[in-house]
Amino acid sequence: MYNETVMANFQNPQNVGEIPDADGIGEVGNIVCGDILRVYIKVKEGKLDDVKYMTYGCAAATASGSMMTTLAKGLTIEEGLNLVNKDVAKALGGLPPQKMHCSNLAADALHRAIRDWQKKTGQLPEGYEEAEDGHDHGDEDGCPVAE
């Protein structure tokens, strides 16, 4: 089902855990749908100095978090916001169709963490809406559906 890159990132996920004194935290997903991804960031000189994550979900969610954090570390804030879900899935060498939404969790959670940092530091762009970062499926009916 999963390719080797996905399995390697599931088996040995990179950057898992909490950053106790994180500068920003973002979480997407919920327990109804069965997948949650939470991202912690440390920002230093306009760059993502450290990125960690915790996840509850299928193997694809764990692997996506691992790949996303690996890709995100060292990026500028701007670059972090430009890292999209497709980049993560691509870096993983692809995901089964019914698991694509898992990869969506990872970049979305990163964006939320960045927004959280921006908010805390008073840098949130004017007119920013949370919904822009998507993926806040709220209830059972709203859970992502495979094509």
């Binding site: 088996q11 996920p13 898992v16 855990g17 004194d21 979480e27 069965g34 019914q98």
Partner: protein, 389 residues
């Protein structure tokens, strides 16, 4: 690496005696049982012997056994066959909310085609209440189908009691005994069923073969039309090696049932005991006593089922989960949903179904492996660790 197969409810390996017989048969006896010549008659003789063995296992007559391509088809023939044949008597059919998809999806199909369907709820252990069955039967009811035991949580239904009620109302009663055959006694008269579905690959027999027991006098409309094999109920050249293998598996399964079920239940009880004692925040799903001897179904809080399944797989352990992720269906299993479990416990379900190959050592290995996996997955689960910052 050690390999431990704990997914016997999904399928089982062929029993070595079944394998040997099938390979001999496939080499020596290839005739079409419908053929008049010696090749055909020889094949027919073997299939009739197998029919007798399957019949013996469930206390039926051989002419009440109709071979099908598996349990799914048996369920479909039983349900569609009865509903269509009795359409003039009514258009209402009854089942439970926790049936196998082979039953539930067939009900959905019939619901789309003018039938009224009732899905009975179950209690938190997955039990159907016989009184609810009685209450649901109407003048127009033509069929009630309740599975003998559930494939996910192992709960065994009070089929004999339900059967009595259904028969009193003159309604056809079907039960899916795919999971109970050779695990607990299955006797068509004791259970009071008119129709019973069986599948060979769950009892160390071959895949692609099953049977429907049809009590003498019950008429069914076929769903596959053609050459009129299986006394016109199921057309298509017979899967003779499958039938022969099924017969052998039935014979062995009946012979060894008591002893093997006891042995497996001992291992299963130990598995449940250790898991519940040694891993925090784990619960057992299904009925504490009225359950299949080989079934354990846990909910592990804070971790998701597919991750558990794949992590165990990396340790050589094969299990399954009713989690949405695992099934690829994006909805947790309808069985766990019907039990009314909290979402978290549905997503973290883990089914371990034991069988012939399992030993004490397997159980020890699995418990140790699971302990480590749960600890590791929980270490980065946001549910286990609320946001601090």
């Amino acid at each position: 690496m050690r390999k431990v197969y704990l997914d016997h409810a999904a399928t089982t390996p062929l029993h070595p005696e079944v394998l040997a017989l099938m390979c001999d048969f496939m080499r020596d006896t290839f005739g079409n049982p419908s053929s008049v010549h010696s090749f055909g008659r020889e094949a027919k003789k073997f299939t009739q012997e197998a029919r007798q063995k399957v019949a013996d296992l469930i206390g039926a007559a051989p002419e009440e056994i109709y071979f099908t391509s598996g349990g799914t088809e048996a369920d479909n023939i039983a349900i569609i066959g009865t509903a269509m044949a009795r359409r003039k008597n009514g258009n209402h059919i009854i089942t439970s909310a926790i049936e196998h998809h082979a039953v539930l999806d067939t009900f959905k199909y019939l619901a789309k085609n003018g039938f009224e369907v009732t899905l009975l709820p179950v209690d938190k252990y997955g039990m159907v209440d016989p009184d609810e069955v009685a209450g649901a039967i109407r003048k127009e009811t033509t069929l009630v189908t309740i599975m003998h035991a559930n494939n996910e949580i192992g709960t065994i239904q009070p089929i004999a009691e339900i059967g009595r009620i259904v028969r009193e109302h003159g309604v056809v009663f079907h039960s899916d005994a795919v999971q109970t055959l050779t695990k607990i006694p299955v006797n068509v008269d004791d259970l009071g069923v008119g129709l019973l579905s069986l599948s060979a690959h769950k009892i160390y027999g071959p895949k692609g073969i099953g049977a429907l027991y049809v009590r003498k006098g019950i008429r069914l409309q076929p769903i596959i039309h053609g050459g009129g094999q299986e006394r016109k109920l199921r057309s298509g050249t017979e899967n003779t090696p499958g039938i022969v293998g099924f017969g052998k598996a039935a014979e062995i399964g009946g012979r060894d049932m008591e002893q093997e079920s006891k042995r497996v239940q001992g291992l299963r009880d130990k598995l449940i005991r250790r898991v519940l004692a040694e891993i925090p925040s784990v619960t057992l799903n299904g009925h504490p006593e009225q359950r299949l001897p080989n079934n354990a179904n846990f909910s592990v809080a804070y971790v998701e089922g597919e991750s558990l399944v794949l992590s165990l797989d990396l340790d050589g352990i094969a299990v399954s989960s009713g989690s949405a992720c695992s099934s690829g269906s994006l909805q947790p299993s309808h069985v766990l949903t019907a039990l009314g479990l909290p979402h978290e416990m549905m997503h973290g379900s883990l089914r371990m179904t034991l069988g012939r190959a399992n030993s004490e050592e397997d159980i020890d290995y699995v418990v140790e492996s699971l302990k480590g996996i749960v600890t590791r997955l929980r270490s980065f689960s946001p549910l286990a660790q609320p946001v601090r910052a």
